[in-house]
Symmetry: C2
Subunit: 420 residues, 2 copies
Amino acid sequence: MTTKHIGLFGLGCVGYGLYQLLQSTASRDLSIRRIVVSDRRKPRLVPSELLSFQPGDILENPDIDIVVEAIDDAEAAWQIVRTALLRGKPVITANKKMVAQHLGELIALQKQTGVPVLYEAAVCGAIPIVRTIDQYFSHEPIQQLSGIFNGTSNYILSKIFNDRLEYPLALRQAQQLGFAETDPTADVGGFDPKYKLIILALHAHGIVLSPADVFNSGIDRLTAADIRYARDKGWKIRLSPELIRTEEGVAAFVLPRFVHPSEALFGIENERNAVSVNTAFSGEQFFAGKGAGAFPTATAVLADLRAIAAGLGYSYERFKNPANILPDDRVLIDIYLRYKDFNQVKHLGFERISEGLIEGEFQYVTGTVTLSRLKKYAHILQNEGATIVGTGKVVISNGQPGTRIPKSHEKETCSTLSQN
Amino acid sequence: MTTKHIGLFGLGCVGYGLYQLLQSTASRDLSIRRIVVSDRRKPRLVPSELLSFQPGDILENPDIDIVVEAIDDAEAAWQIVRTALLRGKPVITANKKMVAQHLGELIALQKQTGVPVLYEAAVCGAIPIVRTIDQYFSHEPIQQLSGIFNGTSNYILSKIFNDRLEYPLALRQAQQLGFAETDPTADVGGFDPKYKLIILALHAHGIVLSPADVFNSGIDRLTAADIRYARDKGWKIRLSPELIRTEEGVAAFVLPRFVHPSEALFGIENERNAVSVNTAFSGEQFFAGKGAGAFPTATAVLADLRAIAAGLGYSYERFKNPANILPDDRVLIDIYLRYKDFNQVKHLGFERISEGLIEGEFQYVTGTVTLSRLKKYAHILQNEGATIVGTGKVVISNGQPGTRIPKSHEKETCSTLSQN
C-alpha cells in the first residue's frame, strides 16, 4: 500500500472537516502533506508544520500527488485547479461556482492533460449524485431532474413553514447558526442551486450551460401573504431547480415552487438536500441526505480521493453526444403571481390564466407563462413587490403558437398540484 | 472502441429486459453474443441464432468477454458463476439468494482468480446501493442500515393499507400482476430481503452472515386485527430488514414493523424499494427507487457491465477488518405480540412489558424481547396464530442482566414511535 500525499488549499469548514475525517477514519493510505491558507493571523487547529502561505508549496511540490481545493473564491480556485492540472496533479474541488463557470474549460483541460478533476462535494454534499448520473445512469435517458440543492434556503423555508417565522427572522437565525452567509444572495437568490444544476446538466445531458443564461429566482421575495396562500392549501414551498428533457432538447431553470404533501420533497426539512431523477427505464430514483456541513462535504471529498487513488475520473459519456438546449419561448411554466399592479400581469404575457383573486391588498393570478418572459420580467416585477412561485407544471410547446405537444410529452413536476 | 461480447444465461424478466435495454440505448460497445436458455419449447423474442441450450457455448467460448447470469435456480447459478470465474470471465449476476449463500466462496474465488463479480441488480433493483456502500462510503462507519428491500411484500402492504384489501386478496392480486410467485414464501416470508441484507452486511461491515443464522419473519401472518391496530394509530406496516452497529458489533434481522407518518418509509408504496443508511459523519442518507421489474433490474446489470468494461470490481474494503457479530441475547427488540394464549407471552420471556390489552378475541402486549428468544419462538408462536411486529426500537444491551448501555449507544430505528 502506497500512501498518496494530499496538498490542501483552504482550512475552512470543508478543509478542516477533511482533516478531521482523515484523522478519525485512520486512513493511512491518504495523508495531508501540506495545507496552504491565506489568512496568516488566524489560529489553526492543525500541526503548524503542515501550514504554508505559498501556493507553490503544493503546486510546485513533486511530493504532492493530489490537490484538494477548498477555498471560497471561485476565480482563485480556478487558477489553482488550472495550474494543478497543467502540473499533472489530479484535483478534487468543492467549489460549485468555479466548476459551473469553467465547465467547458475543465473538460478541455482534462482532455489535454489526461489528469482528472472530481467535484462530488460541489453538488448536494454527501449525496453521491454526480458519480451516479455520470457512471451508473450513463446510458439511461434522464427525462427529469429536480430536488432541493440548497440547504440554507431549505432551512429558512422549514423555519417559515414549521415554526411560523417570517422570512427576515428565519434568515437571521440561519445566519446565526452559520448556515447562511452575511450576504446570503448566492443561497436565497437561487444562484448556488443553479451552479449545481449546471454541473448535473453536463453529466445528465452533455450540455455546457452558462450561468448567465439559466434563469434563477429565489426565496427572498416571499411575503407572509404568499406563505399563507400555500399554507391554506396544505402545501409548502421549496426552492426547486428543474432540468427537463424531451426528444427535442433540454430546459433548465431555478424557481421556488409549491409542493404537495404527497411529494417526497415535502418531507425534506432544514438543511437536508434531495435529488429526484426520472429515467426512461428505471423510473423515479430519489436520493436524500445532508447537503452541507463539514463532515457530509468532507465525506464526498474523501470518496473522490479514493476514486482518484484508484485512477478513476468522470466518464463524461454524454458530452460525446450533447442534447439540444430548448429555446426559452417553448418552455411553458405554470406560476402563481402575486402582484401589486395589473400591469405586472400584462408584462408576463400569460398564455393562459387559470384563476385569480383580488382581496384587498392581496391580488394574485395563476397561469402559464413562457420561460423567456420570466427571464425578461421576473426580477423587475419582484423588485416592484410582486412574487412568483411555480405551481409544479412545465410543458414544452411544439413551437406553433397556441398549440401544445401531445399529452405524452408533457413533463409535470407535480401532477397532483396541477390537477387541483 | 472495442466491443465487449456478452454471454447471457436466462431470458426471463431480467435477461430479456437487458436485451431490450441494450437495443434501445444503442450500446454498440456491448453486444450479446450468446444466450443460453433451458426450456427448448418456449418461443423467444430474440434472433434464434443467439440462442443455445449448451452452457459450454458461453463458458468455453473464448469470444465471450463477460458472463451475465440471470436464471432463477440459485445452485445452477452458482455453478455458472464458479465456472465462469475459473475460466477468467467476469460475471454479473442478479441472483440474491445465490450471492448470499455463497458470499465467502465468492470473495475467495475473486481473490484466487483476480476476476470480478458484480451484483448490483441483486439488491434493490435500480438503486445503486451496493456500489455506494462499497465505494462511496467505504471508510465511513455505518451505524444503521434499513429500508424496504422487497417489492412484492411492499405491494401487498400498500394494497392492505391504502385499498383496505385483506392479506389473501392482496397476495392474489400481486400474483396476477406477476409481482408474486405462485409460492410467495421467499418474498412474503422475509427470505428475499434477508439475502439482500446479508449482501449489504458484507459491504457495510465486512461480515459474512449465513442465511440460516439471520432471523427473518414476514408479513404472511398479519391479520385484520393487526392491521386495524396499526391503522387506528395512524401507522402503516413495512417489512424492514435491520442492520445495527455499535462499537461492539453488528446485529441483523428481518421483521415487519410499524412505521410512523413522519418516517420516509411511510411514503414508499407498492413495488418501490428504499434504503436508509445512517453513517457516522454524513448522517442519514436515503435512497428510493424501483426495486423490481425488467428495466430497473436490467439498468443495474447494464451499469455493472460498464463497470466491468472499465476494469472495476468491488473494493471489499471492510472485509479486511470485519466487525464482530453480536450475540443474539444482547439484541433487545421492542415488539407488539398479538397472542391467542398467555403462554405465548411467557415463551418470549419479555424483559419488560410496556402495555397490554384484552378485548374479547383481540389480546396483545408490547414490550422488549431478546433476538435469541425471537429466533427460538417467533415461528412457533406465529404457527399457533400469534403475530409479531416490531415497534421500531432496538437496543444493544451491555451483556449485564437488567442493565442497559448508555443512552448514546441506543440505536432507535424509529424514535417517534418509541416515545409514543
